[in-house]
């Protein structure tokens, strides 16, 4: 896909230079992170940082370790070596629950929605992080539980409107087409009002129109809420257009890091993507 299509999709006002939040200090730093599964080296000595409010892409050929990278940040995998620092705090025993508590939300490569539940319930479930009422308060519908439910419902309606999925609010997710499911999953991640949003191939398997919509939503989220975005993507057009900076992985090693233009002209990257003719 070429860049012209994308510019058309989200309009010139969305260009990354005129955004609502200026790019700030590092919010997430990875230092010499290595991850092994038995003898398989998934990630070797990876270091990079993510700046507040930026859109950071992780790219690389299949099996490069992109999803592993995201799973390390999210606490699904614990790296054997290296440190991860989130907002100045060193994380040693990260778990997905803890990541959620620290303001990291994510979507999955293969959609992981609650399939039997409605769109509304799925996105409401995304609010779990901000709910404090305990079981008894909920069971007896004490004031705090009711208050939280109402506040969350308002927030969720805002997200539903933002993602333009009002018409499917009460539809069980499993009945929706793939593209819409991806959108609902983004909605669920947003419901937590995350500081950092991890997107694992948000546009995989979509047609051009759906990709354009998703691009627009990601840019809007970044622009309106100032959410820092870390995304994995295969489509080079999308990556070049969306991201402020790009990390390139190949066979679990970092082979490039910089702005889309820098990365695109990096000979190592070209080699990994196109192979060499010798």
């Amino acid at each position: 896909m070429d860049m012209a299509t994308h510019d058309h999709a989200h309009g010139d006002d969305m260009s990354t230079t005129q955004r609502g939040f200026a790019i700030g200090k590092p919010i997430l730093e990875l230092d010499s992170v290595s991850l092994r599964f038995g003898g398989v080296k998934a990630l070797t000595n990876i270091s990079f940082n993510v700046l507040e409010h930026e859109i950071r892409a992780i790219i690389g050929p299949n099996g490069a370790g992109k999803s592993s990278m995201l799973n390390v940040i999210n606490g699904v995998y614990r790296p054997q070596e290296g440190t991860i620092t989130l907002r100045g705090q060193k994380l040693t025993d990260m778990t997905p629950n803890r990541a959620a508590a620290m303001g990291i939300s994510r979507t999955f490569q293969n959609i992981a929605l609650f399939k039997g539940m409605t769109v509304l319930d799925n996105i409401m479930a995304g609010c779990s992080q901000r709910e404090h009422a305990n079981f008894l308060e909920v069971a007896f519908q004490l004031p705090r539980a009711r208050r939280e439910e109402t506040a969350n419902r308002e927030k969720v309606e805002e997200i539903i409107e933002f993602l333009q999925i009002e018409h499917i609010r009460k539809t069980p997710v499993k009945r929706l087409p793939y593209g819409l499911q991806k959108r609902v999953e983004l909605g669920r991640a947003l419901a937590a009002q995350p500081k950092i949003l991890l997107l694992d191939e948000p546009m995989a398997g979509m047609n051009i129109e759906e990709k354009q919509d998703m691009c627009r939503f990601i840019l809007d989220v970044n622009d309106h809420y100032g959410t820092t975005v870390v995304l994995i993507e295969h489509d080079m057009g999308v990556v070049m257009d969306l991201s402020d900076r790009v990390v390139v992985l190949d066979y679990g090693k970092k082979i490039g890091d910089g702005t889309p233009e820098e990365v695109r002209s990096n000979p190592e990257v070209i080699k990994a993507y196109l192979g060499v003719a010798d």
């Binding site: 999210n74 778990t95 992981a112 929605l113 409401m124």
Partner: protein
């Protein structure tokens, strides 16, 4: 005609008691996707402990909260020792774990309280309600009515909590996708603890109702078997489903026993629910209210 109503009402009321037992299964099935073989054992353990505490000299109103607390502890311990290490394992593994758990719970119960059959006096006689008998000439057992009321209230309260609140939403989310539930920050462990504790309390109530009628004894474990057809007919995932199915099973077996029994020499009660369950499996395998099973090809 009065006799017909007596049979129908009696059937419906005992049906509510089936619903109550089945409810314990549904709670755990919804949250962890596992058919909890130990539910019958928990019913037995709960009521045996209750009677045991009363034998130790506690009065009814002290023994009740003590037993509730005990069942909550049992629920929490079960979650800690059995379920938590198995999070993410296949359903078969979980099923086997609950079968093992059933034997442990039965064993511990009998080890602690002995094996003799006990009576449970709830202060409600298993006799016809005087008022109904005098005015409408219908004979309905007081115990049945009380059990029906208690069960009805419990079912209604749980159904509301689990369908309308965030606890219910969390529960369904956990059942649907563990990994995703964790990543959105749903407290998986807390949810499982709540569910197992609730199932323990439900088991106590069910055990008390059945124990008052047929004595507190090992055979109570078999009550769980009667919950099977109720679950199949109602759908494993549906709280309203098991209520309706319990009523259907209760009414159907009593009616069949009374009206068809004489022609085949009786004993219909024993097998009719299972025949109904098989019919449902053939025609509507997801049950009355279960989620429709759709496979994409």
């Amino acid at each position: 005609m009065n006799f017909f109503f007596e049979v129908l009402v009696g059937g419906l009321l005992s049906g509510v008691m089936y619903s109550l037992v089945a409810l314990g299964f549904v709670l755990i099935y919804k949250a962890s996707g596992v058919f909890n073989f130990a539910q019958g054992a928990m019913v037995f353990f709960a009521v045996l402990s209750f009677v045991g505490f009363m034998e130790l000299g506690l009065n009814f109103w002290v023994a009740l909260p003590v037993t509730v607390a005990l069942m909550v502890v049992v629920g929490v311990v079960t979650e800690r020792l059995v379920l938590r290490p198995l999070v993410g394992q296949s359903e078969d593994t979980l099923l086997m774990a609950t079968i093992g758990l059933a034997f442990v719970v039965e064993g511990v119960a009998q080890l602690a309280w002995g094996v003799k059959v006990r009576r449970l006096e709830l202060g409600i006689a298993d006799e016809p309600m005087g008022w109904l008998a005098d005015n409408a000439d219908i004979l309905v057992s007081q115990l049945d009515v009380a059990a029906g009321l208690v069960a009805g209230i419990m079912v209604a309260v749980l159904a509301l909590i689990f369908s309308k609140t965030k606890v219910g939403r969390g529960l369904r989310a956990v059942a649907d996708d563990n990994a995703a539930a964790l990543s959105v920050g749903i407290p998986l462990k807390q949810i499982l603890v709540v569910v197992w504790a609730t199932a323990g309390v439900v088991a106590l109530v069910a055990g008390m109702m059945w124990g008052a009628r047929s004595g507190v004894q090992f055979a109570l474990v078999g009550v769980a078997l009667k919950a099977m057809p109720v679950l199949i007919i109602g759908g494993f995932t549906s709280v309203p489903g098991v209520i309706v199915a319990g009523l259907i099973v209760g009414a159907a077996e009593k009616m069949a026993e009374v009206y068809l029994g004489p022609y085949v020499g009786g004993g219909i009660e024993g097998w009719l629910p299972y025949v109904l369950a098989v019919l449902f499996l053939l025609v509507r395998p997801e049950g009355l209210f279960g989620e429709k099973i759709i496979r994409r090809v």
